[in-house]
Amino acid sequence: MSTIASPKRESHVTAAKVVLTILKYALLLLFTAIALVPFIWMLSSSLKTSTDVFSIPMKWIPDTFHWENYTQIWQKVPLLTYFENTTYVAIIVTIMQILTSSFAAYAFAKMQFKGRDFLFMCYIGTIAVPWQVYMVPQFIMMRSIGLYDTIWSLVVLQSFSAFGVFLMRQFYLGIPGELSEAARIDGLNEYGIWARIILPLAKPAIATLAIFTFVNTWNDYMGPMIYLTSDLNKTIQVGLRRFIQAFSADYNLIMAASLCSLIPVSIVFLCLQKYFIEGIATTGLKG
């Protein structure tokens, strides 16, 4: 895990190092504060009455804690249904995305073939076109093949994104070519190299892609808003936005609901984060 902190370091401990360390933690704590201030505000607002949320001067700690806000939101919106739907979509999309992207990226990163660069530019090009522009044509198509108002519309929309392919390509490019050459000499075909050599090494990249895909699907609003209509199908962001529009003045409840919607994604992040750290060093790569 620590590549720089070698054993020799201990002998060099000087006053300067101590100061540096203190500075480092001070900076980290400062950034932590900056990152968390809005969340603290959200938390404190979620425990106030709606009229106190924007009172000036602002109070970070409410006079009385209104914990009932958290029970109220569960009565006012079927958050659990939204959670179930969204989790379901997000898991399918994430799995599909990882499978197809990690497969396709291999061709772009490790193989020579005609039309490679052109195709790759097409992928990148589509990322650059704002979705709002092709939303209507896409909707017409999706409806004609009968996927409108099913969660499968979201699955097919997000499973084949160019983003995943690009991300995986970049990580594959970082894997030394000699590794696959050696495997080729040992008689492995391309599929074998992908499955046995590249994929195990790409764990951090897969973890990254998994997190990003999960979070993006979780937080997607426009997609579900356009493609889903029935109440049964609603996802968390649509539900949350509905809630905000219906209870536009109750910012305490809105903040409470927003904080609740954070929990599942945070869990996914915590579960996956150990994989970024488990580096190539531990997978036994010798450059």
Partner: protein, 416 residues
């Protein structure tokens, strides 16, 4: 599991279609609207219609209110078969009509000799621009009134605002009521809450390219802000403060707002969010403009051209926009487009509506101008006026500069 569920759902939907074909006389009409679960009039209309028309079921398709036009336009372009669509914005309807998404109602109106005279002129905006072809009927017609907090006026021993009050008198009253944590009045951040009053004279419109008539209102609002008689635009924007919560707090004496707020306020009083007496009056007027003049915009009902139940859909639209529908709507404290003495009585009798004579009288305005006219280029002008509005209200531009820029930029879109 979910897949199974969706398959089962599909099957039941198909089955219900088959059942509909088999069991003659049972029709399900789907109607796309917004806030269908929270606004009480939807349920009232559904219940009343189903009682009057056995065999027909109304099913609301609830779309997000802020994105209603995006979603509804996309659905219609995509060939969705939802039978009826609410028309939130007049310009949406114009485009839907032009593109053939919604049905021309002229034949039906003629064959049923439908009475178009009861809408106080609101019906003509549902004609395709430049023709006399109706593509929707007016369902609700909200106009602007002045809400006031009786409890605050009583406490300050000041007389209530009246149905005949000039803007100058209103301004003095607002300043008089200010103090001790009380704001004399409240303006939401919209253009319509601040400067739309200029159209109440029935002559000016916001699309005429001439905006010096707005200066008086901007000046009045800025004076009130400076006097501390209302919260500033800057504060309201930054805090995303919604007018409904603001007035419900009980420290605002008056607020010009659309009539739709009445049903929200009634709800707040019922569930204890707000705790005070309130009343409404007609909005103030300029010298020389008749008292009781206001502006507003209608909400209509249109029939999808792809609907499989076009006749049944027209039946529902005609009913909902007619006297029976109007009564059902009025009983929930919402103002239907169809106006008659009888409907006004029902409206005033709505549970929770203030019972004083002035408030009842305020329900029958003398004239209602359109908030925005309909026509080519109006959308572009609307964008421009709204943009300059935000510059004036944040005081990034002086009133004169802002109005000058409005006129300069709008000139391009004004039909000569």
């Amino acid at each position: 599991m979910k897949k199974l569920l969706s398959i089962v759902l599909c099957l039941t939907m198909m089955a219900s279609c088959v059942a509909f074909a088999a069991a003659e006389g049972t029709t399900t009409l789907t109607v796309a609207g917004w806030d269908t679960a929270t606004a009480p009039y939807y349920e009232a209309v559904k219940t009343a219609y189903e009682a009057a028309n056995p065999g027909v079921t109304i099913e609301w398709v609830d779309l997000a209110s802020q994105e209603y036009n995006v979603k509804a336009s996309t659905m219609l372009a995509g060939g969705d078969t939802t039978d009826i669509f609410f028309v939130k914005e007049l310009s949406d309807m114009q485009n839907w009509a032009k593109e053939g998404f919604i049905v021309d109602m002229n034949d039906k109106i003629a064959s049923t000799s439908y009475d178009m005279s009861k809408y106080a002129g609101m019906d003509t905006c549902y004609q395709l621009a430049g023709t006399t072809d109706y593509y929707a009927l007016p369902f609700r017609a909200d106009f602007w009134v002045l809400f006031y907090n009786k409890t605050l006026f009583d406490k300050a021993s000041v007389e209530y605002p009246t149905n005949d009050m000039t803007w100058d008198a209103y301004k003095d009253l607002a300043i008089k009521m200010t103090g001790d944590g009380v704001y004399g009045t409240h303006y939401h951040t919209w253009l319509s809450a601040v400067a739309n009053w200029a159209v109440c004279d029935g002559v000016n419109t916001l699309a005429d390219g001439e905006y010096s008539d707005l200066k008086y209102f901007y000046q009045m609002v800025q004076d009130l802000e400076d006097a501390g008689a209302c919260m500033t635009y800057d504060e309201l924007k930054a805090a995303n403060l919604h007018y409904s919560g603001a007035f419900a707090q009980g420290n605002i004496a008056m607020m010009p707002m659309g009539y739709w707020y009445a049903s929200t306020l009634i709800g707040y009083i019922k569930d204890g969010t707000a705790d005070f007496d309130w009343g409404i009056t007609a909005v103030p007027h300029l010298d020389g403009v008749a008292a009781g003049s206001s502006f507003g915009s209608p909400t209509g009902l249109a029939v999808n051209a792809k609907s499989a139940n076009a006749d049944a859909a027209w039946d529902f639209v005609a009913w909902a926009c007619g006297e029976e529908g109007a009564k059902a709507v009025a009983a929930t404290g919402t103002r239907p487009a169809y106006v008659s003495e009888e409907v006004a009585t029902v409206m005033a009798a709505a549970d929770g509506f203030p019972t004083d004579d002035a408030s009842m009288a305020a329900l029958l305005p003398t004239a209602i101008s359109l908030e925005w006219p309909v026509g080519d280029g109006v959308n572009d002008i609307k964008t421009i006026v709204n943009e300059e509005h935000s510059l004036i209200m944040t005081r990034e531009l002086s009133i004169d500069e802002g109005v000058a820029e409005m006129e300069e930029r709008a000139a391009e879109f004004i039909k000569k």
